[in-house]
């Protein structure tokens, strides 16, 4: 049995900030090695689980958007800079974890109060004014925290209703869960061959890990799984899909049109819910890089609609993860 809830719970709590994804390897090894894959981390931090020739690539990024410690104040506050597109509107009073070489520390995200910044209560602090309260001060300052250490939202996984969960880092734990579930479905069908699963590093820092991975693997074809925008107030309808409406099949110049269409036909044939996500230019995902790196290859993109992206309260409907994995497993089995 595949326990999706437990899988998501563990993935969202894995400390894999962009550029320091080491914790992914042992966790993914324990899943993929028993299935018969050769699992290793490459020099860039991508974790690759390869079956046979690995000629078809399945990619989901495993890194998490966070902050990097830039300095420590004797009063017990860390200064930090965002890694990737951090949303400073949702940081105040958020629970954080500081990951150091030796241990973890609890921290509360803080900032100088707006009236002292000469601003109104509606002004979010600029990134350089962010502070993180670690509770220690003066001589009790922990010696183990160093510049370069990372901050992530503290794990906090909750069920909202039957089949809907909230947690930080469903971006891209939802995508990684799709890959794990796809591997499970394919192994049940005895169709787990010639696939390379790539859990790529540093996507949030600017799609940096995918290219080195492709250079090594030289896949003939690629399927990228990421999250995208679910419908919610304030977001335009054409940019979003309702939660529960299945995978968003990407259409974009960066993606192979025939492959996208074939995925859509397959979803219709198999009666799987799905929507189309139309993007005029780049997709903003690893697909942009994977499609053109090392000579290029036909690439498709499947996205899971989540709400509140890049906040500590992202939400996802489990059926969207399941239906994305079903479509992907069917596509692999069919040899799309």
């Amino acid at each position: 049995m595949f326990d999706l809830l437990q899988c998501l719970r563990e993935l969202t709590a894995l400390p894999t900030p962009s550029g320091r994804e080491e914790a992914a390897l042992p966790w993914l090894q324990s899943y993929f090695s028993p299935l018969g894959a050769a699992v290793e981390a490459d020099r860039f931090g991508n974790v690759l689980a390869v079956f046979g020739t690995g000629k078809t690539l399945l990619d989901a990024h495993i890194d998490k958007i966070g902050l990097v410690v830039t300095g420590m104040d004797p009063q017990g506050f860390l200064h930090a800079a965002p890694v990737g597109r951090a949303d400073t509107r949702v940081l105040a009073a958020a629970d954080m974890t500081v990951y150091t070489a030796k241990k973890e520390f609890f921290a509360v995200a803080a900032s100088v109060p707006p009236h002292l910044r000469g601003q109104t209560v509606y002004d979010a602090p600029p990134a350089e004014d962010l502070l993180f309260d670690i509770g220690f001060c003066g001589e009790s300052l922990p010696p183990d925290i160093e510049p370069g250490d990372r901050l992530l939202f503290r794990p906090s996984f909750h069920t909202l209703s039957d089949g809907v969960v909230t947690s930080p880092y469903l971006d891209n734990s939802a995508g990684a869960a799709v890959l794990l579930l796809t591997a499970f479905l394919l192994s049940e069908r005895g169709a787990l061959s010639d696939l390379a699963f790539c859990f790529s590093a540093q996507e949030e820092a600017g799609l940096r890990g995918a290219s080195p991975a492709v250079f090594q693997l030289r896949p003939e074809k690629a399927f990228v799984v990421d999250v995208s925008f679910a419908r919610q107030p304030g977001a335009r309808e054409e940019h979003t899909a309702e939660q529960g409406s299945g995978p968003m099949i990407g259409f974009s110049p960066a993606l192979d049109h025939d492959l996208s269409r074939a995925l859509r036909s397959l979803a219709e044939e198999k009666n799987l819910p799905h929507t189309a996500e139309i993007m005029g230019g780049a997709t903003g995902t690893n697909a942009d890089v994977i499609s053109k790196a090392a000579g290029g290859r036909k690439t498709a993109l499947l996205s899971i609609p989540i709400r509140n992206m890049h906040t500590p309260v992202e939400t996802v409907r489990l059926s969207d993860i399941e239906n994305t994995a079903r479509l992907l497993a069917d596509a692999i089995e069919r040899g799309l």
């Binding site: 009063q75 509107r89 509360v108 209560v121 069920t159 925008f229 529960g244």
Partner: protein, 339 residues
């Protein structure tokens, strides 16, 4: 029971303004012998505690039971809930936070992803009226099976001890409740009245009724108050600091405290070797605002624990401030009751 454990339990109870029953029951279950309790029509809990001697002056110690929260105002057709804040919640403390509904369900206050809004909008916190509570319902019908307009919610926040500090929701003013509960377990030298009020956060409403009923000569309001002792904040802008003991206020936005009482408290702290500080800003307010105007006027003093990030899911206090606050309260209560 250990004070810290009691603060943890009280912090995790849900008691938004107007819905303080869980906190009141918790306190009622822990009344010692020699304490007589009365619950007034608003839900204030008034406890008279016999001392070794009859008091010359009636001293009321009070703390409020309620916390800031939200009240559901409307269910949208898409299953999202509109809400109004209960109490003064700063816009920065709403977006991207988890909440617990009255029925125990979890919800989140979402934020439209920053990717989808103009650069300019990313620099501003959304207003409460533009936010929604998401309980994972996909239609109004589905949501109605679980919530009704008028239901309340509070922040959902773990209780964490870190580096000698405590982080939790509702430390304003469950810490005050815990301190009074601790004091109440000891037989005082003189009779004392302990009052646990409702609806402080929505305009000091419970305290007005309770102070009238109790009719004290003196009131000691036990609270938490804003500490802005953050890196980069200097001088009087820090207002008060964690780890420097209880805060005795001379004035805030709701009360001008009697100078004689203020000076007496500061002198007492010095005599007893208790660290104490004052607030270096005229800011905030508490139940004193209602109590000191009660009947013909009540001599009132606020004694507060310095607290960072007040009214957020992550209030932070310093453990080492707890015992000095207790000691100062005991000393003041005794001296005032002695007359």
């Amino acid at each position: 029971m250990e004070l810290l454990e009691q603060i943890e339990q009280l912090s995790l109870l849900n008691g938004p303004s107007g819905n303080e029953g869980a906190v009141r029951d918790y306190i009622l279950h822990r009344l010692p012998r020699g304490a007589e309790a009365h619950v007034d029509p608003l839900g204030n809990l008034i406890v008279t505690r016999k001392g070794k001697n009859k008091a010359a002056k009636k001293v009321m110690l009070e703390a409020h039971m309620d916390e800031v929260g939200m009240i559901i105002t409307h269910l949208e057709t898409n299953g999202l809930l509109r809400f109004a804040p209960l109490g003064g919640i700063s816009p920065e403390s709403l977006c991207g936070k988890r909440v617990r509904l009255e029925n125990g369900d979890t919800g989140v206050i979402g934020a439209v992803p920053c990717h989808l809004i103009p650069e300019e909008a990313r620099r501003h916190y959304p207003k409460a009226e533009d936010l929604f509570l998401d309980i994972g319902a996909s239609s109004r019908e589905e949501a109605l099976l679980r919530v009704q307009p008028g239901d309340t919610a509070v922040f959902l926040s773990d209780f964490v001890r870190f580096g000698g500090k405590i982080k939790g929701k509702a430390l304003d003013d469950r810490v005050g409740c815990a301190l009074l509960l601790t004091m109440m377990q000891e037989e005082p030298l003189y009779d004392l009245t302990f009052v646990f009020t409702v609806q402080e956060e929505v305009g000091l409403r419970g305290a007005e009724a309770a102070a009238f009923t109790v009719a004290p000569d003196y009131a000691l309001v036990v609270e938490t108050t804003t500490a802005s002792d953050l890196a980069g904040v200097e001088g009087e802008k820090r207002v008060c600091e964690l780890g420097k003991g209880p805060v005795v206020s001379f004035m805030d936005r709701a009360t001008i405290y009697p100078s004689a009482l203020y000076r007496m408290a500061m002198t007492k702290a010095k005599q007893e070797g208790i660290p104490a500080q004052t607030k270096t800003a005229v800011a905030g307010g508490n139940d004193s605002g209602a109590v000191h105007k009660s009947r013909g006027g009540v001599q009132t003093l606020a004694v507060s624990l310095p607290c960072r990030y007040l009214h957020s899911p992550a209030c932070v206090i310093e453990e080492s401030d707890l015992q000095p606050t207790l000691r100062l309260l005991r000393a003041l209560a005794e001296e005032l009751a002695h007359g």
